[in-house]
Every structure is written in C-alpha cells, then in structure tokens.
Amino acid sequence: MRADLEEAKDERLAALAAGGDRGAFEALVTRHRQAVYRLCWSATGNADDADDAAQETFVRVYRSLPSYDPGRPFGPWLRKIAWNCGLTVRRDGNAGVPRVAEGDAPEAVDPAPGPEEAAAGNEERRRMEDALAALPAELRMVMVLRAVEGLSYAEIALTAGIPAGTVMSRLSRARTRLLAALGGSS
C-alpha cells in the first residue's frame, strides 16, 4: 500500500476512491474489512454468509462512493451499509444457522494454538461462539457492536436505526441470554 494512503483519513480515501483511485479504495477495504466481517457475522451467525455479506458490503460501498459526502464521517456510513447487507443476506439464507465452511468461506482459526491445555480453551471458546450464534440477530448485532467494536449506544442506535433506549434493553437481554447459555449466575 502506498505510504500516503496509510496515513490518510477515511474520508480522504473515500474521496480519492470516488475519483477512481483504486488504491485508495483498497486501502479502505484493508482498514475496515475485519470490522465489516464481524458485523456481517453478527447479522448472519455463520462464516459463510458473513463472507457473502462482507464482500457485498464493499462492492456496494464502491458503487455508492459518488453519493458519499466526505464532510460526514465514513465509519457510520460504512457500518450502515454493512448492517443492511448482513440483514439482506440473512433474509436470503438460513438465518443464524451455523454452517460448515466451504470453498472461499472462512474457517475459524484459533488465534493462539498452544499445547494440550489449549484444548479446554478451545472448547470454552466454541461454547461461547455457539451461545452467541444462538442469539436472535437483533440482539447479537447490538452485542457485537458494543462488546467487540466498543461503540457507544448512540453510535449503535445510528447504525441500527433504533432508539438508544432500545440498544440498552437489547444489550441487557443479550447478556442475560449469553450468561444463561454459558451457565451464568444472573
């Protein structure tokens, strides 16, 4: 990646990309692909559909760049598109059903594979992933945006198009369910 692109702000990159700079667009993809994938996973609940939705998100972003206003922050705009792509793929497919990864679909890897004691950790992690995947998408998406991406209630509300109070109640329900699935005490 070009050095000038690495330093550039999202909004600047988006403006360059809208002008036909493919390098700037790819810089945006690299910068945001993981967050987009996570949001799409939270919408669909499985890696295969998350991959579809994440790819589709960036294609739509590219198509829509001319309508993007560089005076407004890029992140919320991108998240909104990713949110919609995730929901669209979810409606088209088997929503929330974890599927076996195949082809280009990503396979989950363990970030820190260790010796035997890692097996217990893997089992615990799998249990957590299953618990998260079992949540209704409305709860899971809000949960991931808060707990993984660290967004504020206002930012989540903007992305999801719901009131901040609803964000809080969904988070509360999501956490209660996760804890119940994991054997929580609350």
Binding site: A17, A18, G20, E26, V29, T30, R33, Q34, Y37, R38, D51, D52, V59, R60, Y62, R63, S64, L65, P66, S67, Y68, D69, W77, K80, I81, N84, C85, T88, V89, R91, D92, A95, G103, P106, A108, V109, M128, L132, P136, E138, R146, A147, V148, S152, Y153, G161, I162, P163, G165, M168, S169, R170, L171, R175, T176, L179, L182, G184, S185, S186
Partner: protein, 378 residues
C-alpha cells in the same frame, strides 16, 4: 439506591453510558453490595463471550483481491451501477444492437398504434398501455415483440426478439445463474440500502424514491444511483422507455400501480370498518379476532388495520403486549421491516423481558423470508 434500581442501571453503568451523578450512586451501592457486584462481573463475562470467530490469515490474504475482482466485474466505475450479462461478447452485441432493437420497437408500436386505423386493433398494444407503467419495461417489450407483422415488416424487429433488448437486460442478469459466492441480494434492504430503489424503479422520474437516510444529502443529480438515472448507459433504458418511443406507459396522472396501491390502502380501513360492523351485527366479534381472521386469509393490510383498531381499544397489558407483537409480524409480512422494528422497539420499551417478543424474534427471520405464510404469533 437499592438493589433494584442499581440493577436497572447496571448495563448502562457497565457500558459507561450513565451520567456522572447516577454513576456515583451506583458505585456507592456496589461498594456495599457483593450481589450486585457479582452481577456486574457477569456482564463483563458476557461481553467476553461475544467474540466473533476470526476467519484466519489465509482468508484475509484473499479478501481484497476478491472484492476488487467483483468491483471490476460488476461496475465500470464508482457509482455506475450497470446490470448486464457478464460475457464480453454479449456486452459488445448489446452496444450495437440495442439502438436497432429500440428503433424496431418504436416501429412496431407506431404501426399498431396509429398508422393503420382501419385494421382491427390487435390485442397487444392496449394491454401494454394498461400495464406498462408499474410493470417492468421488459414485460412491455416482450408483449410488443411477438406481433406477427413485426417479423415481416422489419429485420430489426426480428433482431429485437432474438437479441437482448435494453429493457430485458436487468431481468436477464437476474436470471443468469450466478457464479458461486457472487450472490447479490434479491430483496430490498431497509433504509440505507442503496439497492432498494432499483426494485421500486418507477416509470416516471417524478416518482423516484427518496434517498436512503444514510446517504449524503448532497447527492449530485448527475450521479447515478440506480439503473436509469442519467448516464444513458445500457441499463438506463431498463426503467424508462427507449428515447423517442411512443407513450406506451400509463395514462396521464398517477401511474397505475401507485394509484392501485393507494386505492387499496384507502379501501382497507373502510373494508375493516364494514367487516367490523358486519361482525358486530352477527356476533360479538372484536377487531382483534377480525385481525386474526384476515391474517389467516393473507389479507395482511386489512389485518393490520384491524389490529391497530384492536390495540386502540385494548388497555390490558398482557394482551396488548401480544397484540403489538402480532402487529410487528403483520408489518414484517408486508415487507415493512423498519416499521416493524419501530413496533418492536416500543414493545421492548414497555415490556421488558417480553416472552412473546422473544419467541417472535426467533421466528422473525423466517417470517421475513416467507411473508405469505400464516402468522405465527397467534
């Protein structure tokens, strides 16, 4: 502050969303209450469970190339949304033959429509005129093309029948089996989805849908947001008749589809009132019962009107909670997802831990996928 109040604020406290004053009160309570402290620790534990599985470096190594490949294949440039067959040969054919096909179509319609008044009116043009505006332009062309005189009269018309016309391009693209992993959404998303206007592309530019909320309000008029806007590229013809073509669209005034929809909406409330009146005369049937009956008959719009009437007179909390959930489902079944979201938000606000809502949220993806089925929240 007691435990009950503390727990109601615990999520917001954990997320750093409480005002300073409330935060101080919660902290004070937590210092003396191990039970609430344990609940707070649980919230952190739940957050740790929210990790999304990482697809791994091999996946990310290919990710950008796959995006760029799709961008190259599906768009000529930013903002240019052109649906067309993927084959290069077909693309070339379209470039030269589309004008010929459009000209042939004009000839056919003029020929049938006005030059030979003495000839018995063929069935095709009136049908096309009645249906043109709301239906896809592709359907229009398909109806006009098979005219027997068209084949005799013009080689161009034959070409129009044999080769993809501009108005057929979008449908053809949709019909072509897609390469694996190149799936595009078939249904419009809620607000913010720039795909939505494509499916609702109107016959008249004045009826163009408003921009999605997250899109810039500074949208330039020459920027193409959906096929048919501005550039005159291939797909631009897919939502409007070819330049110079005769007025095969709807009669003056409201496009027929919109008009029909409006009439349908206006009539729905009246019909509900009539059915309510009839129901009262025959039995003690309430609007709530009527809503269920109409929903079972898949008359979702009428059912929605009845359900709203039901809710207006229902002050009983448990049945009102279920009634709102039912209303959300009726909206989902009409594809009005954002309105359903608003109703769900209202339920969540008024009825915390709503069991009915939880059950429905589990079913909701299937409801949104199969809007025609019989309601589940009954």
């Amino acid at each position: 502050m007691d435990c009950r109040e503390t727990r109601s604020l615990l999520n917001a406290f954990h997320d750093g969303e409480l005002p300073a004053a409330d935060r101080a009160r919660v902290e004070e309570h937590l210092r003396g209450c191990p039970k609430c402290g344990a609940l707070l620790a649980d919230l952190a534990r739940a957050d740790r469970a929210a990790g999304v599985p990482d697809p791994g470096p091999a996946y990310w190594d290919r990710f950008n190339a796959r995006v760029m490949d799709r961008v190259e294949r599906e768009a000529d440039g930013p903002g240019v949304k052109v649906l067309r067959p993927k084959g290069g040969w077909m693309r070339e054919q379209l470039r030269y033959l589309l004008p010929a096909a459009a000209a042939a179509l004009v000839l056919v319609i003029v020929y049938y429509g006005g030059i030979r008044p003495g000839v018995p009116t063929p069935a095709v043009p009136p049908a096309a005129g009645e249906r043109a505006a709301p239906d896809s332009a592709g359907e229009r062309t398909a109806k006009a093309e098979p005219g027997p005189l068209a084949a005799k009269k013009s080689g161009g018309a034959t070409a129009a029948r044999r080769l993809p016309s501009p108005v057929l391009t979008e449908e053809r693209s949709a019909a072509v089996p897609r390469v694996e992993r190149d799936r595009l959404p078939a249904r419009p998303s809620p607000a913010g989805n720039e795909e939505a206007p494509r499916e609702r592309a109107p016959a008249a530019p004045a009826a163009a849908p408003s921009p999605p909320p997250m899109m810039s309000s500074k949208r330039s008029p020459d920027r193409q947001e959906w096929p048919g806007a501005g550039t005159g590229k291939v797909a631009a013809g897919s939502v409007a008749p070819p330049a110079g073509s005769p007025p095969v669209a709807a009669p003056e005034g409201t496009p027929p589809g919109m008009h029909a929809e409006r009439m349908k909406m206006a009539g729905a409330a009246d019909r509900v009132a009539e059915q309510q009146a009839a129901g009262k005369a025959k039995s003690a049937s309430s609007p709530c019962d009527l809503a269920r009956t109409l929903a079972e008959r898949e008359q979702m719009r009428d059912a929605e009107a009845a359900q709203r009437a039901c809710l207006a007179g229902d002050r009983n909390a448990p049945s009102r909670e279920k009634g709102l959930v039912f209303l959300a489902e009726l909206l989902d079944r009409q594809g009005r997802f954002s309105e359903a979201d608003a109703v769900i938000a209202e339920i969540e606000k008024k009825y915390t831990q709503s069991r009915s809502l939880d059950l429905y949220l589990q079913q909701r993806p299937m409801v949104q996928k199969q809007p025609k089925a019989v309601p589940v929240t009954r």
